[in-house]
């Protein structure tokens, strides 16, 4: 259980990451801002929860993380810079010709475990890593974050069957359940509900949480069940924090205006003052 002080610290960190991510997108000339902001709290939680060493990204004892929703890379890059996997100067190259920080993550970037961007690959990669860890008798854990619209790809369901068959209880799959994809709501484009029942039926120990509530996220990250992989359905708000973008599918990929960025900075500063 987290205490009040720890939660406050995580919330302050998240508001800073949110601000820096939007600034990165503004300076870089675009990004998948909606999904970037829905995943902020989840990624902040993971960076605080997982075993990892920014000084030694390939440390054998690390836990593995795969951003299957690779288009939401800007929050990830911001966190990689925050933790020192990449330099702040390198982060500033985002959006410029030849930068290693492309629109989707690549293993050339320290800390990144998989080349993602094409949807429906991360869950299978995570299952492969988890299976190899089991075969090697290692206790590292594998975390994978998918989108919800992404689950339209059938390969996810193939991976779910395999994870259950091979009893991959060393992996946790998190769904950024913001209910929106580029064309509209997930339920209008291709209904996913009841997702919890589906994940359970496919063999995952499944919990549904508020993906912006740190206490709930950390409680869910602690869930383990022998012989079963874990699924966390994290209900989130797409565009969270950027008031003009919240819950609006047209903000799936968009560049904020200078005014919108300034407003966000003001809102976040205000929010941090309230927390203090």
């Amino acid at each position: 259980m987290l205490n009040e002080k720890q939660i406050k610290k995580l919330e302050i960190q998240s508001s800073e990451i949110c601000e820096k991510t939007v600034e990165l997108i503004y300076n870089g000339g675009g990004g998948h801002i909606g999904g970037d902001l829905s995943e902020v709290n989840i990624l902040v939680a993971l960076f605080n929860y997982m075993r990892h060493d920014p000084q030694n990204p390939r440390w054998e004892g690390r836990d593995y993380f795969i951003l299957s929703k690779g288009h939401s890379s800007e929050t990830y890059y911001t966190l990689l810079a925050e933790y020192g996997y990449i330099g702040k100067k390198e982060l500033d190259t985002y959006g410029s010709f030849g930068s290693v920080l492309g629109g989707h993550p690549n293993k050339k970037i320290p800390g990144v475990e998989a080349n993602t961007g094409s949807l429906g690959h991360g869950l299978g990669l995570a299952a492969g890593i988890a299976l190899a860890l089991k075969k090697n008798g290692k206790d590292n854990r594998v975390y994978v974050l998918t989108g919800d619209g992404e689950l339209g790809e059938g390969s996810n369901w193939e991976a779910m069957m395999a994870a259950a068959k091979y009893k991959l209880d060393n992996m946790t799959w998190i769904v950024d359940r913001n209910f929106l994809q580029i064309s509209g709501t997930t339920e209008a484009v291709m209904p996913l509900e009841n997702l919890k029942e589906k994940a359970e039926a496919f063999g995952f120990k499944t919990v549904e949480i508020n993906g912006h509530d740190f206490e709930q996220i950390f409680t869910a990250l602690n869930v383990r069940e022998e012989g079963r992989p874990v699924c966390i359905i994290a209900r989130t708000v797409k565009g969270k924090g950027l008031a003009c973008a919240e819950n609006k599918p047209e903000w799936h990929h968009k560049t904020p205006t200078k005014e919108q960025l300034e407003q966000l900075k003001k809102d976040m500063t205000e929010y941090r003052k309230e927390l203090a």
Partner: protein, 320 residues
């Protein structure tokens, strides 16, 4: 004539090697029977992964295991691995530099009357356009063993296409075989035939028929389609003055495409690309289909003669 299927050669070799190397993993998609895996799944259950009929995830999961240092060989019908899983091969294997060996079994028209759903006649065109992916089509069991041996020494992202049926043994010395190096099996100056897979032995038969008529040709086994042995192509183009490619693949984009891309831009000589025409293939065994398209030894010999005649006419007219 001694015959052995490439799949059987692989199975025997991988079982033997996997017993001594715990990092070797074989992945199948309900295809252990057609892959002729034999007792491997029962003898080494911890080194065997059965994914069910799910080729996409089989490739992705294999890539995940490879990332963790496993030596992964994923096997299933070439038709499905090269088309349904094409994106997984591109993204998770090649682009991600995961050293998975994707082995497409029963390739080409091996499945005969099972038809176009099961034929892989576009796989080389697709796979060779993927950066950093090696593409291999072994012509016999010795070559298959040599290629697998090289991959076990040093892995790389690779697509290997093998046929279903036993094929004549061409090589006896595996040390002659290296990934990326073509093998010139016989030398003659009237024409060069560049081929791969089970059509290598048919080309050798065709060359023997032509020899009776006083026509002496070169036969090159271009088992590695990518990276292409352009040095060999240059040599035979210079020596023979014309090239015929022959492949169990669509006439578009395969070995013929690869060779002609080099020839036209570097050493233009008359060429003939022989493959399966761009149409529905009639139902029948592979042998019947080869005969129908004049890709049996007699048909191949006729095609070579026709190319030589074109070369001679061009030479007589001073290339006009």
């Amino acid at each position: 004539m001694e015959k052995e299927a490439c799949s059987s050669a692989f199975s025997k070799m991988i079982l033997e090697r996997a017993k001594k190397d715990k990092d070797i993993i074989v992945v199948c998609t309900d295809s252990r029977g057609s892959a002729k895996l034999g007792t491997y799944p029962e003898e080494l259950p911890d080194q065997f992964v059965e994914m069910g009929i799910a080729e996409q995830n089989a490739v992705t999961l294999s890539a995940g295991m490879s990332y963790m240092g496993k030596k992964v060989f994923v096997l299933g019908p070439a038709s499905f691995y090269s088309t349904r899983s094409a994106e997984q091969v591109k993204v998770d294997v090649a682009y991600s530099h995961n050293n998975v060996a994707v082995i497409g079994i029963s390739g080409g028209i091996s499945y005969g009357a099972l038809g176009a759903t099961h034929h892989s006649l576009q796989d080389i065109a697709l796979m060779r356009a993927i950066p950093d992916l090696t593409v291999e089509i072994p012509s016999d069991a010795t070559q298959m063993r040599a290629i697998i041996g090289e991959l076990l020494e040093k892995g790389r992202p690779v697509y290997i296409r093998i046929g279903r049926n036993p094929v004549p043994v061409i090589y006896h010395d595996p040390s002659e075989i290296k990934i990326g190096k073509a093998n010139r099996l016989i030398s003659g100056k009237d024409a060069a035939v560049i081929t791969c897979g089970q059509l290598v032995s048919k080309s050798l038969e065709a060359a023997a028929l032509l020899k009776n008529e006083g026509i002496v040709v070169t036969v090159v086994d271009m088992h590695t389609i990518k990276p292409l042995d352009t040095g060999m192509i240059r040599t035979v183009a210079e020596e023979c003055g014309c090239i015929m490619t022959l492949e169990e693949h669509s006439m578009y984009g395969g070995l013929g495409g690869a060779v002609s891309e080099f020839v036209t831009q570097n050493i233009p000589v008359p060429m003939q690309i022989c493959g399966i025409p761009d149409q529905d293939v009639p139902n029948g065994t592979d042998e019947e289909v080869f005969k129908y398209y004049k890709m049996d030894p007699e048909g191949i010999a006729e095609k070579i003669k026709s190319l030589i005649s074109r070369k001679n006419k061009l030479q007589e007219s001073g290339g006009k």
